[in-house]
Amino acid sequence: MKILIIEDELDLSSAIRDYLTSEGYLCETAITYDAAYQKISLYSYDCILLDLMLPDGDGLKLLKHLKSLQKTEGVIIISARNALDDRITGLNLGADDYLMKPFHLSELNARIAAIIRRKNNQHSNIFTFNEIEVDLGAKTITVNRHEIHFTRKEYDLLLYFIYNKGKAISKSAAAEHLWGDDADMADSFDFIYTHIKNIRKKLSDAGAKDYFHSVYGLGYRFTDI
C-alpha cells in the first residue's frame, strides 16, 4: 500500500510518515507543489494526503491535475483552512475526505484505511480481526457467527480501534472521532471509559478475547499481543 504525503511542514510530514510506516504502509513525501506534481504524474498510489497550502502552489490545482490524469487514488485533504468553501470545492473536485488540522494520527490512519478498503474491496465489505468480523456495508459486527448489537457510537469506536490496531489511542482522539468538532465541548473524556467498558462486556459475552489495554490512563490500545 503506497501513500504520498504532500505536506510542506517537515515535522508534521515526518510524524505522519512514521505513524503510517509503522502501520505497514509505504510512504513517500513531497514538500513542494512541483515535487508533488511530478510524483503524481509519474507514479501511482493507493492514497494521497494533500495539504492545500503549499509554498509554491495551491493544493486544489494538484487535485485537478490528478483528476485530469484519470487516476483513481483516494485523496484526503489535510488543511489548516477550515473554510467551508475549500471543503466543498475539494470534495467536488473528487477528494474522498477532508481532515482539518490539527488532527490525531489515529484519525488520519482510520480514514486512510476506510478509503483504501472502499477503493480496493468493491465487492466484499467484510473484514476480520481474529474472531471479530466487521461488515462495513451493514455496519454489523459478529463474533463466532453471533451478531452483537452495538450502538452507533460503540460500533464507530470499535471500528476506529480495529483500524488502529496495535496503536495507543488517547481518549481525546477517540472522543474527537465520535463527536468531531463537538468533542471540545467536553471537559473530560471519562465517558469514553463507559463506552469501552460496554464494548468489552459485549465482546466478552459473545466469547471474544479482551483486546483492549489501558495505556497510562491516557487511552487504550487494541491489540492481540
Binding site: E9, H104, K167, G219
Partner: protein, 416 residues
C-alpha cells in the same frame, strides 16, 4: 429641533417684529402727514373767517364742503390759543359720528369775543390712508413670505451636502461599503467631507487589519498545533513512558486541545463576521435539539443532569452551520455551568427559544458575559462560547437575552 425649524423660527420672529415696527412707523408718519395737511386746511379756513370778519364784519356762510363744519360761540374773553387736535363729532350734514381734526380760535366780532371751532372730518383722509397703507403693507408682507420660502429652498440647497454626509454616516457599516464623497463647492462642507472620508477609511482599514491579523495569526498557529498534536500521538506509542511522563503527556494533550479550541473559536468569529458560512435555509429546530440531546447524552448523564424539553414544531430561517454552532454553545454552556444532578429546561415556541439551566445561585452580569474572553473564574472554558453565540445572533438577526430566575439561568433567543 432641526436646523430648518430653528432657522425659520428665528427668521419669523425677526420678520414679525420688523414688520410691526415698520407698520407702526409708517402708520404714524402717514397719519402725521395727513393731519398736517388737514391742519393747514383748517388754518386756511380760519384765515378766511378772519378775512370775512375784517372786511365784511360778518361770519362767512357755512362752507360747501360736507366735511367742514364751523361753529361760533360767544365768549367772555379772548385768549390767543390756536391749538389743532383730534376729536370726534357728529356731522349733522352726513348724520353720523366721524373722527375729525379741529382748530379753536377766539375772534372779535364787533368787539364781542367769539370762540370759533373749525372741524374737518377725517373720513376721506382715513380712507386714503387705508388705501395707501394697504398698498404698501400688502406687497411687503407678500415679499416677506416669498423671502421665507426662498430661504427655505436656499437652505435646503445649501445644506444638501451636509445632509447627504449625515445620511451616509448614520447608515455607516464598518463591514460594508465605505463613505462616498459628497460633491460640493462650499469650503466648510468640503472640509467636513474630507474629514469624514479620511476617518471612515481609517476605521475600515484598521478593522480589516485586525480581522486579517486574527485570521492569519490563527492560521499560522494551526500548523504548530498540528505538529505538537502529531508528536504527542507518536510519543504515546512509546512503550517506555514512566508514570510521571504519562501525567505530563496528559497535561500536554489538554493544553494543546485548549489552544486549538481558542484558535478555532477566533477563526469562527472571523468567519461569522465575514459571512463565510453559506446560505440560509428553513430549519426545524425541534428536530435539531432532539439530535443534540441525544448526541450529548454522555455529557449529560455523566453529570446526572435532568433535561426537560418542551418543543413546538416550528421552522426557522437560518444558516444551518451557524444554527448548529448556536445550539452547541447553548448546550455546552448549560452543561458546563450546571451543577451535578442539576436541570436543563429547553422550551421552543413559535419564534422563541429558551435555554434554562441550574447553576450557581447568583445572576451573571449580563453586560459582560457576551464579551470575548469573559469567563467565570471557576470555568475552564476559553470564554468565547457566548461571544460566538452573540455574534451568530447578530448575524442571523436574532435577539439574545440573559435572565436569572432563581434557580435557573436562562437565555432567550427571539428569531427574526
Amino acid at each position: 429641533m432641526n436646523l430648518f425649524s430653528k432657522y425659520n423660527r428665528v427668521l419669523l420672529v425677526v420678520l414679525l417684529i420688523g414688520l410691526i415696527s415698520v407698520g407702526i412707523l409708517f402708520y404714524n408718519a402717514l397719519n402725521y402727514t395727513l393731519n398736517n395737511k388737514i391742519d393747514e386746511n383748517l388754518r386756511e379756513e380760519l384765515m378766511e373767517v378772519k378775512d370775512y370778519l375784517h372786511v365784511k364784519n360778518i361770519f362767512p356762510a357755512p362752507p360747501e364742503d360736507l366735511d367742514l363744519v364751523i361753529e361760533y360761540k360767544p365768549a367772555k374773553k379772548t385768549s390767543a390759543v390756536l391749538v389743532p387736535g383730534d376729536t370726534t363729532f357728529y356731522n349733522p350734514r352726513k348724520q353720523k359720528k366721524e373722527s375729525a381734526r379741529y382748530l379753536k380760535a377766539d375772534l372779535l366780532l364787533d368787539n364781542q369775543p367769539f370762540h370759533v371751532l373749525i372741524l374737518n372730518s377725517k373720513a376721506t383722509q382715513s380712507r386714503q390712508m387705508q388705501i395707501v397703507f394697504l398698498a404698501i403693507i400688502i406687497p411687503v408682507v407678500i415679499l416677506f413670505g416669498l423671502m421665507a420660502l426662498f430661504n427655505r429652498y436656499l437652505l435646503l440647497k445649501l445644506w444638501s451636502p451636509f445632509y447627504q454626509a449625515l445620511k451616509q454616516i448614520k447608515s455607516f457599516d464598518i463591514k460594508k461599503g465605505g463613505y462616498r464623497s459628497v460633491k460640493t463647492d462650499i469650503h466648510e462642507f468640503r472640509q467636513l467631507d474630507e474629514a469624514l472620508k479620511q476617518m471612515t477609511t481609517q476605521i475600515q482599514d484598521d478593522f480589516k487589519e485586525i480581522k486579517l491579523f486574527t485570521e492569519n495569526a490563527s492560521h499560522e498557529m494551526m500548523t504548530p498545533i498540528a505538529i505538537i498534536n502529531s508528536k504527542l500521538d507518536t510519543l504515546l506509542q512509546s512503550g517506555t513512558l514512566a508514570e510521571n511522563d504519562s501525567k505530563a503527556l496528559l497535561d500536554l494533550y489538554k493544553a494543546t486541545k485548549r489552544l486549538n479550541k481558542i484558535n478555532q473559536s477566533l477563526l469562527l468569529l472571523v468567519k461569522i463576521d465575514h459571512d463565510q458560512l453559506g446560505e440560509k435555509e428553513q430549519l426545524c429546530p425541534a428536530e435539531l435539539i432532539r439530535q443534540k440531546v441525544n448526541n450529548f447524552q454522555e455529557l449529560i448523564s455523566q453529570r446526572h443532569i435532568q433535561v426537560t424539553c418542551n418543543l413546538d414544531d416550528t421552522t426557522v430561517l437560518s444558516n444551518k452551520y451557524q444554527f448548529d454552532i448556536l445550539l452547541n454553545n447553548l448546550f455546552s454552556n448549560a452543561i458546563r455551568h450546571n451543577r451535578n444532578g442539576g436541570e436543563i429546561h429547553i422550551t421552543l415556541k413559535e419564534g422563541e427559544l429558551y435555554f434554562e439551566n441550574t447553576g450557581n445561585q447568583n445572576a451573571l452580569p449580563e453586560s459582560q458575559i457576551f464579551e470575548r474572553f469573559y469567563k467565570d473564574p471557576k470555568s475552564d472554558g476559553v470564554g468565547l462560547g457566548l461571544a460566538i453565540l452573540k455574534q451568530i445572533c447578530i448575524k442571523q438577526g436574532y435577539s439574545l437575552n440573559y435572565y436569572f430566575r432563581l434557580p435557573m439561568h436562562g437565555f432567550r433567543i427571539k428569531f427574526g
